[in-house]
């Protein structure tokens, strides 16, 4: 139900960093004042909980778990200056109450993500995504394992023990992205003047693309996004 279509994945991969920047001219970014894009992403209504695969052999009552279906807004292509960064930050995706927290994580390629287990049960984080395939095995509360994500793309993360546990890690080749807040608000700062396509990704909606121009004098551009239902 939450799957990405092949086309969406392809478009997203392109947008996540494979495409070359075509917004600002080389050198122009240094002279002009940077701008910002802010706004709000509105989601189509839909289930806000994840469910276990029905296991009729289970003798106890299961429960739906809330899912934080946040959106990620990013530039496509990114300004050329965006690729100069050599930071390799560390991010964190917790396993708490049998959910991944956060459910959606956006990072720069080269980042390391730690996966601590905060539950009093085993978890087994793994991914079969083409961008990054890994299996951390089973480990108990208080322990943490980490994975370095070198390539841009979308990585779907699961728990091998708890079928309802899933998360997304969006790996970008640049730093011009933002994860929308609980209220859907987002902000991307420090954008050089130029013309860009702003992409909005959400697991339950088709990829949205809108054109935005950051004027030479910089300033804020407001862009609200209403995502359609997949």
């Amino acid at each position: 139900m939450l799957r990405l279509s092949a086309i969406t994945c392809f478009l997203a991969l392109l947008a996540l960093g494979v495409a070359a920047p075509r917004g600002a001219a080389p050198g122009a970014a240094a002279a002009a004042a940077p701008g910002a894009i802010r706004g709000r992403v509105t989601l189509p209504s839909g289930p806000a909980t994840s469910v276990d695969r029905p296991n009729v052999a289970d003798v106890t009552m299961g429960a739906g778990l809330p899912v934080d279906r946040r959106s990620v807004v990013y530039l496509d292509p990114a300004p050329r200056a965006a690729f100069d960064s050599r930071d390799e930050p560390v991010a964190r995706m917790d396993q708490r109450n049998k959910t991944f927290v956060p459910h959606v994580l956006a990072i720069v390629a080269g980042s390391t993500v730690e996966f601590p287990n905060s539950d009093r049960t085993y978890h087994n984080v793994f991914s079969l995504s083409k961008t990054k395939s890994f299996d951390l095995g089973r480990y108990a509360v208080g322990r943490s394992k980490s994975v370095r994500f070198e390539r841009p793309g979308i990585v779907r993360v699961f728990c091998d023990i708890h079928s309802h546990m899933s998360a997304f890690i969006l790996v970008f080749a640049h730093r011009y992205f933002a994860v929308a807040g609980e209220d859907g608000r987002y902000r991307i700062d420090g954008i050089p003047p130029g013309s860009y396509t702003v992409m909005t990704w959400n697991e339950s909606a088709p990829l949205d693309a809108q054109r935005v121009v950051i004027p030479e004098g910089g300033g804020e551009v407001e862009l609200n996004v209403n995502l359609r239902k997949r």
């Binding site: 695969r53 052999a57 003798v59 009552m61 009093r120 089973r138």
Partner: protein, 398 residues
């Protein structure tokens, strides 16, 4: 065997390619209504192996071979209220008409207490294996002998003398006896892994302990919808998790197992005891289970006047993930039987069976796995004493 193996591998490769292509459009998560109250999932398992209509090592009844089976199943859980869930599973084997595998109501009478009551065709309270989801959880392709192998006992027909039973050694797929039904029917396993019993159950789940019990119409060997015997079965299990990753369980069951048509001298019960353990860490899972069953016979069997026979099934299995997509697994399994004195010889009343199975699997997708296994069976009796069975399997679920 080798041409057959080559055909199997070629067939499996073609099937995997086709399924992988088709799999791009298949659902990945359970289907659900917008309010989340109704959740539907399904499983399709195709197992290809050579025919085994001489030894019947993996038959689950006279028609179905677990190593050569196409099974479709659909499960649904509807929660009309927070305290009530209605669950069902329907299965079809080899594209035959569907049959109901599970259909029950689950009630949580106290909102804040992890105590649940089930009624209908309910999950078994005995043992660990029967509660696992086959496609996702079975390490290899075959089933443990105690949950699948057909012994030469029948609930609707019985021997009169010990030689009647000894003559049926290794013929659990089609035993016949002088007493009771003369219809051709298969024998019973220690515990049926393919049918659930009907009745009421209760389970309490604590932080480290789970206790479950059930009162049902049939028995472990012969689960039933309608009652055909002289009493109910009571079964139960206690499972403890002393440390994260380790689960240790103990089970017991007792119930009348003979059909009413058979003249029983007194109470004829199947009594069973089980012990199970699972330990997992890193990329390993190791499991072991032991099932002991004792069946009272309707009449004492001369010459030694044996009033009951028993069997002990035990196995260990392990699975190791080599990479995110590739795993290897194996199971060592044995089923032994108590000795019975006939007119000229004393032997185990059924032929003891040993089984070793090695498997490797590849996850094409998270919910689409291809397995390849080789199973070696050895039996101390019957017209076929041993058989090596290669098989391949594709299992898909959402």
């Amino acid at each position: 065997m080798f041409p057959a193996l080559h055909r199997l591998i070629f067939g499996a490769a073609c099937l995997m390619t086709a399924v992988r292509a088709a799999g791009q459009g298949l659902p990945e998560s359970p289907l659900r209504t917008p309010d989340g109250r109704l959740v539907v999932s399904a499983e399709a398992v195709a197992t290809i192996g050579p025919t085994d209509n001489e030894a019947y090592f993996n038959y689950t009844d006279y028609e179905h071979d677990a190593m050569r089976l196409f099974r479709l199943s659909a499960s649904a859980v509807w929660k009309p209220a927070g305290w009530l869930a209605l669950a069902s599973e329907v299965r079809s084997e080899n594209l035959e008409g569907p049959r109901v595998y599970a259909a029950y109501a689950r009630i949580r009478p106290f909102r804040d207490r992890p105590f649940d009551v089930t009624a209908g065709r309910i999950p078994p309270a005995f043992g660990a294996f029967a509660r696992r989801a086959y496609g996702t959880d079975n390490a290899v392709i075959g089933y443990p002998l105690a949950y699948q192998y057909l012994t030469s006992l029948r609930s609707d027909a019985a021997p009169v003398v010990a030689d009647d039973l000894l003559r049926m050694r290794g013929r659990g797929w089609r035993p016949s006896f002088p007493l009771g039904s003369q219809a051709v029917e298969p024998g019973v396993p220690l515990v049926s892994g393919f049918r659930w019993d009907t009745g009421v159950g209760a389970a309490w789940t604590g932080s480290t302990v789970q206790v479950s019990a059930a009162l049902t119409n049939g028995t472990l060997s012969n689960p039933r919808v309608g009652d055909d015997n002289a009493g109910k079965q009571i079964s139960g299990r206690v499972a403890v998790t002393p440390i994260i990753g380790l689960v240790v369980g103990a089970s017991g069951a007792a119930g009348e197992w003979l059909a009413r048509g058979l003249p029983a001298a007194g109470s004829a019960q199947q009594r069973a005891f089980g012990a199970d353990a699972e330990y997992s860490r890193g990329h390993w899972i190791v499991r072991g289970e032991l099932v002991f069953s004792r069946w009272a016979l309707p009449v004492p069997l001369p010459p030694a006047q044996a009033g009951a026979v028993s069997a002990l099934g035990r196995w260990v299995e392990g699975r190791y993930r080599l990479t995110p997509r590739v795993f290897v697994a194996g199971r060592i399994d044995h089923l032994g039987f108590s000795r019975l004195t006939g007119s000229s010889v004393t032997l185990p009343w059924d032929a003891p069976v040993s089984r070793v199975e090695a498997a490797a699997g590849y996850y094409l997708r998270r919910n689409l796995v291809a397995r390849m296994a080789v199973q070696r069976n050895r039996r101390d009796g019957g017209r076929v004493r041993g058989r090596t069975i290669p098989s391949v399997q594709l299992a898909y679920w959402f």
